[in-house]
Symmetry: D2
Subunit: 338 residues, 4 copies
Amino acid sequence: MTLDLSQYMVRTDLALEAKELAERMHGAPIPGLNEDITEDDGIKVTRLDVLNESASMQIGRVQGHYVTIEVPALRNQDTGLQERVAATFVTEFTGFLDKIGITEDKKVLIVGLGNWNVTPDALGPLVVENALVTRHFYQLAPDQVAPGYREVSAIAPGVLGTTGIESSEIVQSIVERTKPDVIIAIDALASKSLDRLNTTIQIADIGIHPGSGIGNKRRGLTKEILGVPCIAIGVPTVCYASTIVNNTFDLLLKHFDQEHGGAGSGQTKQIMGLITELSEQERLGLVKEVLQPLGHDVIVTPKEIDEFIEDIANIIASGLNASLHKAVNADNVGAYTH
Amino acid sequence: MTLDLSQYMVRTDLALEAKELAERMHGAPIPGLNEDITEDDGIKVTRLDVLNESASMQIGRVQGHYVTIEVPALRNQDTGLQERVAATFVTEFTGFLDKIGITEDKKVLIVGLGNWNVTPDALGPLVVENALVTRHFYQLAPDQVAPGYREVSAIAPGVLGTTGIESSEIVQSIVERTKPDVIIAIDALASKSLDRLNTTIQIADIGIHPGSGIGNKRRGLTKEILGVPCIAIGVPTVCYASTIVNNTFDLLLKHFDQEHGGAGSGQTKQIMGLITELSEQERLGLVKEVLQPLGHDVIVTPKEIDEFIEDIANIIASGLNASLHKAVNADNVGAYTH
Amino acid sequence: MTLDLSQYMVRTDLALEAKELAERMHGAPIPGLNEDITEDDGIKVTRLDVLNESASMQIGRVQGHYVTIEVPALRNQDTGLQERVAATFVTEFTGFLDKIGITEDKKVLIVGLGNWNVTPDALGPLVVENALVTRHFYQLAPDQVAPGYREVSAIAPGVLGTTGIESSEIVQSIVERTKPDVIIAIDALASKSLDRLNTTIQIADIGIHPGSGIGNKRRGLTKEILGVPCIAIGVPTVCYASTIVNNTFDLLLKHFDQEHGGAGSGQTKQIMGLITELSEQERLGLVKEVLQPLGHDVIVTPKEIDEFIEDIANIIASGLNASLHKAVNADNVGAYTH
Amino acid sequence: MTLDLSQYMVRTDLALEAKELAERMHGAPIPGLNEDITEDDGIKVTRLDVLNESASMQIGRVQGHYVTIEVPALRNQDTGLQERVAATFVTEFTGFLDKIGITEDKKVLIVGLGNWNVTPDALGPLVVENALVTRHFYQLAPDQVAPGYREVSAIAPGVLGTTGIESSEIVQSIVERTKPDVIIAIDALASKSLDRLNTTIQIADIGIHPGSGIGNKRRGLTKEILGVPCIAIGVPTVCYASTIVNNTFDLLLKHFDQEHGGAGSGQTKQIMGLITELSEQERLGLVKEVLQPLGHDVIVTPKEIDEFIEDIANIIASGLNASLHKAVNADNVGAYTH
């Protein structure tokens, strides 16, 4: 789990949020960004390309391609919806591979980051468990592998606290030996927004960039380090108590603004005080300042996390299996996951 | 898990909080309350007796005996501390049984409320799994049971959503047939305070009183219903997002009061606005009003819940085993739990 | 798990085996038995009715209706086959309910016997976890339940060693209170034959009859005890080491008979010795005599038991859901199981 | 799990069995073997050194040091006994490290072979989960690590079917990068003897040698391959059905020999037939010949495997923690395992 340890910063892990934030501040569309949004019965897909260095700097996101699948109702555990999300994932991920030039002959290494024994952090290992791996067949008898498959391997490297070794070091050493053409890394994220918990999947070809805060000398999984492209699939599964508080402040502000004739009417400020004049970042800093010394800035996850994690892991694993192997399709995809 | 569904109410599940709240409003000690507090190196024990109807009404808690063990550092997973908490539990629970007249010959039925498959709600079933049950030996050959034991049975009745039957109906029917002398019910609670999550154990001889909100026709586990006394052991393991927000408001108020020369200085009000004039209850109502329509008043639990639940279940199970059976002591208590 | 503790006896838990055995000894079809066998691409279904007391005595099985689904390849974990077995289960179980007169308005209590924490014994609890229960909706607002459902509740009573209470006592007391019209009890069985492990499902309207051996005062789940019919669904998941040895002796005998011109050629006896002259029962007695004092008559289960149990529990749970509720069908049955 | 796929061979994985077998055939002690046996209240420890190539060839075991801890009663789940076994493990493992020259400054990589999701194969991953790893502290701030510890890392590489990569390839690539001085590999074994299941622990400085059968191109974990010594800790947790049958034949033979005046009296042969004249190997071949075509040579594990695996993993993990870190001792060893 990539916890952003950088204090006092409203850093969003999701590119589409960063873009919105930047455009709000900028007051106009930012050149060098290409955005395409489709929405279908509760499933919103945003495809965002950060095309040049200038756009990258303005939104504070690495240059690359981002696809975000947002499904606010995903926490309702509706099987029909889950199947539609899985189908959307297949379409989007297949398109994504095409777009960034990962052809059907490319060898894939799936990396499931996180910890088996901490439920909200078990997403990566669960996906690995259900991924359809084939590399050993290609190693043993490449001629005998049926058409419609590609060479896929998978690893759950564990977490630093359990192994004593950085995940990135483990992955790097396996990459050097097994020579995959592309890495797909799955990770549970800390959310910057309560409503994204277990409802959003982000796909991006930018790898894993560890936070830059103190105590975080992890080296990340990027093309620079690994020598091959790394696609990151991230799902927010936890958030800080302070995130919840900060989100609620926002909602309260909007609530009073609406009730009292719009922002700037002065009413909201009367009700909520000078706090309304703080930037979101300053407010979060204030909340953290109060919560942290008491040990109250706890990282939390929804009560139903056991099922949420299992559901999303299934969506991603079956989605990857169908995207990576042409021979796997809607009719047989269930056969490869548990 | 007993979730308090009664909306817009700062109902605390813990008697010691209710007493504090009442005395603050009352401005003086309340007659009919007997309180005894000891503190030992990070473990605070509060023994509170609610002696008469008048005191009961004033603090809004059923007449009875309450013991609360508070261990703020319990979330740090320090094994030494856990062992000391288990020892404290044995001392307090043994004393509690004495006080309410449950002698060594009384037959016990342990009831583990909650759901195996929802980690923060699995406390009860986990305690049952590790309880030392003996009833079957007494049924088979009562003469051959070694001294130092008593008749104990245990049941995890499951939850309404999985069984279609109220836990209380299941327990009632088993009580009618097996005729225990006393029930000990273990339940995970929704906390009214972020800092109590997985750090507090309450023992009370008042049974389980389900919330009185809509949709909550559960009948509870009380002496009136069961015909025998019911001791409730509760541990807060989840809380609402709105609880976190409300707790933080309090901390912010205190923070500004301290910074600016005490409550009533006017400064805090300037910073925090009219919201400071709301009662805690009104404020919580406001927060819920904003969060609930958006589906954001999520019930959350700490990220590390898997280990927390296991640790506390072990403390309670080994504590019960040593309290209920004289033959079980510090040297062999581990033999009965996993 | 109903372990047959009756020593030195080739007792088979499966009626179709008892019938074969009896007819072999009898040398002719037994009157009062009605058998109907169909086979479809690896799934063999035997419907056996034991119609009168005389037939019952001759095959040593309680009068009643038995359906056995045998799928030798079920251990291969082929998802397609599993789905076909689930469909077969629905057809057969629906027919079975019809045959014994359980109409669509009858209220059902599903009982999942066994132990959560012992994988090969977790079948019953796993089925309960995935059963679609509805009783609470009927209790709360019977008018508002959509058509196509019936009243179903479910309980996993635990095992004697964990609860100190006989499962049958727990079920009996719940039956008295909740008044279902029929019980469906799911249990993992000890197999009398290695090849039946996790490949056979027996449905019978005879309830659960505990073994009559020493130490086995369990009272069973039968119409006599419960007052309502009890359908038992059993799956062999474990067997004794002695069962494996005895099965292999048989195979060796057949092997040598085939090689050397049929039984009675004298050759087999020369190779296998006087042991060939023992009855199956005597031979099993001998094997147990040798293994037991050394603690070697271990109860074993296949190495892959974790997945086998999950697969079969899914087949039975989804099969029950579709059989009991008309509104559940092939398209949505997956929505109710995990 | 290292399943020996080499057909029709009584290959024992345990050196002490190989030695016995060889000496029985040889009729005299074999030079170049050093054996030292101690026995203490149900715990038998055999220390066997295979000192030269000639001895190695005669017993068919790699030259090296072997310690075997045999505890027939370990399956009884007696906590007291488990603690004594853990203490014995510490003494023996510490002595073993001394003997083979692994001093306190040597860096260790613990490798937990096997599969999380297959209970009898989860021993290795469970040990890794409970191992006290420290490498990251040494990497971050070597000066600040308290005395009494050494640099330990740990990895559970997964199994070929889940990763598509040989465990040995994964370990090799991590060794190349992290440069440990010694590997400790934990593996669940297929037993050649029913009574060894979950009762025997073998420690040997010979690494992991995969079977040489068809389909088994795994490369092993040996000093030759890894460049550093590899200590293997193996526990038999499964066996073939054919192993059970063959063991029972032996017991039957002994049984009749004893009854009828010793081996060679002719009586046993009369009872058991020509089969008595087969060598153990021939007999096993015969049994496999009969069972395999029917798919009956199932690999089995005791019914209680969930608890057995957890207990032995705890013994080994706490034993390793105390052996590798001087600062960990009997009083605090529990603090590092779950």
